[in-house]
Point group: C3
Chain length 307, copies 3
């Protein structure tokens, strides 16, 4: 039985197979509409995250399956002092697969070790959020037709943004991917990514502060939100949150076939005037998130697929 | 694609068609039990409202469909600063139709403009609650056999009660409907309803303070709860909340075929001893609420109906 | 129409029939996978209890049915002052059967009297939690092959533990069941159980303080958690909560075919090193909880069963 804790749990081959399946689901949704009839997904969200939870629920429903769970820790047995290991053992009696979100790093891993059903890490603190990375990869591959030979701009909070770290780690496994890392000094990429991931793998990258300098070269621009909850003091947050605002004018600097991604929710870092631009792909990305979660559920449940 | 923001979005003809469909659903529920298989309803409740939410969920389930969503703003992305426009764009990837409750007037309208799926306003602050009005109309038509030639008593909080305002606006479109407006001085109907809706349309109405004076003439008595959350100070609320109590004794003044409606929840404005009276229709009304929401979902989704 | 308020609502014959059905469900789950298609369960949880709620939801889903409801009182109409009697009358329009958890003793009973659908008490304060007792009985019968001729040890909080009281009341109806009641002085079984249930029925029992003294004689050891919410002061709770800890060493005193049950969640009263012991049956018990709830739903809904 397999779990998904990190995007790197999947080899490049396995990942390609998964993305192929997701693309087939996109093209032929009816073919998959009942492959999980009588299967049940448990969504154990110890920390609220509507978007991720609903994406998992939609994915399971699109496969014909059912969903049960909780959307915040208040309504869980955690408040009675139960360990995640005990909770997952019990939930294993109720469901066939589980998506767990937890504020504590490593909690889904602990759960997976005690579980008799596949566990998907749906975000553990500032650590991993693998289905976001799978979403990002499917979006890039679907829009650009490839995951190699790309120049990727990552912009905003590169220090705390776990989706950015995971995406870099996933993309360095493809050939000729270059990164332009766009952030204010205070929110630069952590050194373990710079040294252990980028330099070690001889990946070409630049660090710049101005979005304008990077835009003309990019195939993909990955924008991120500066998240209040990652800062220790309000003052730092306020100073950083408006550092980047992508607007129509800046978009004139970008290539005609560059796509903008964003893990959402956005606050103000992408001006709404950009939404109508055909290069704005962040809402399409939400749709790809459903397809890739459908593919993931099918893969982990080892469902026999229709031909 | 159509949305439902206000009961007046539907012409009288469209409304009649909708109520006909709801009545057919009441008579032949099995015919409709699977017409929405593989359809998904999102219930986005930024403010808790169990009754309305469960009524929508039951409606979708009765049609064979599935439901996902959230029941309070805490567990939504709103707390991360996301706009309803962005939320609905994402939810459009997860569901086929959406019911939105929001404390802010106009929020569902803003959502509908960004949405690629039909949006139903499930209550926006003190503004509109169109499915309650549709429920009220279906209940009256089912019990009395008509929506014209009626004397309707509206009792309680006529100042803040949005269901009362909407019901008046909907009923003035039918011929020979008279109103008796029963309220304490402080909770009289707002002048825009008196002047712009009633007087302007030459609708016969009286304003009285004593329920007893109105009861003998009524075909329908629509009771309402004095809602604490509409008052700025506790003292006013306490003084007003027990102003009307409908009991067995008062019911002796009413016609044998007068029906009592109430949007529920009630607190004490209808004594429980009245529940056994065959004229007490407020729980039947909850059932009509499910039928009319089923009809509405089918209509907005443009589902091909069984003949 | 029948409700379930207390485990004693069922005669011994009815109980045996129910447990037989649950065992058949365990053996042939596919046979029951669609017997409740188009049936809806409402889970009305006025107090959070994830485990119990999810067990009911899983049970209904395993039968093909659908689930709606709420998981805490905040999101219910209770906050608007509605009575449970009114709530259940409305919910009767939305669902075919209801499981209600309420902090107030007797609330589900009040609901059942106003309801037009079967109501299952899913726990009312410190009073009753009948589906836990049914779970315990099914677990014992499944593991030991019988409900008579057993020596049952009950350990921990015997004063406030409602599951313990209910289990004793249910088991005294079978022949030759002996009890060993293991608790600190402060948490001894209440006198109404000692006098009115045990002595009155001439049931053999002992009260001991040391777990070690009881272990060698037991066929079943039922462990319980000392629940903070049952204590008036923190100090008493802290003193009591670590009184018993069942570990590997103590398990050496037990028979080879003694099983450990626990209603869960546990905190530290069973050391995790015991989990791997084949006699540890508390997670299996959670699975039996689903089967017995499936059987209960089928019984109360009077569903025509497949042969």
């Amino acid at each position: 039985m397999r779990h998904l804790m990190s995007p790197l749990d999947l080899s490049v081959d396995e990942l390609n197979t998964l993305l192929d399946l997701a693309s087939d689901i996109e093209k032929h949704p009816d073919k998959y509409a009942h492959v999980c009839d009588d299967k049940r997904l448990a969504t154990l969200f110890y920390e609220p995250s509507t978007r991720t939870r609903l994406s998992f629920e939609a994915a399971m429903m699109n496969l014909g399956g059912k969903v049960l769970g909780f959307s915040s820790a208040d309504s869980s047995s955690a408040s009675k002092g139960e360990s995640v290991a005990d909770t997952i053992r019990v939930v294993s009696c109720y469901a066939d697969i589980c998506a767990m979100r937890h504020p504590k790093e490593g909690a889904p891993l602990v759960a997976s070790m005690a579980s008799s059903i596949p566990v998907i890490n749906a975000g553990d603190g500032g650590h991993q959020h693998p289905t976001q990375t799978l979403t990002d990869l499917l979006t890039i591959r679907s829009l650009k037709g490839r995951l190699d030979n790309l120049t990727i701009g990552l912009c905003g909070d590169l220090k705390f943004g776990r989706t950015v770290h995971s995406l870099i780690e996933a993309l360095v496994r493809y050939t000729n991917v270059k990164f332009i890392l766009i952030s204010p000094e205070e929110l630069r990429i952590p050194s373990y990514i710079r040294e252990d991931v980028l330099k070690k793998n001889n990946i070409e990258f630049q660090e710049v502060e101005r979005l304008e300098d990077a835009l003309p070269d990019l195939d993909i621009l990955y924008m991120t939100r500066v998240q209040k909850e990652r800062f220790f003091n309000e003052e730092d947050y306020v100073r950083m949150k408006d550092f980047y605002i992508l607007d129509k004018q800046k978009m004139e600097l970008a290539k005609k076939d560059m796509y903008i991604l964003h893990p959402l929710p956005r606050v103000n870092e992408i001006s709404t005037e950009v939404d109508a631009d055909p290069r704005a792909a962040y809402f399409k990305q939400a749709q790809y998130g459903v397809y890739v979660r459908m593919a993931l559920i099918l893969t982990l449940l080892e469902v026999k697929l229709p031909c």
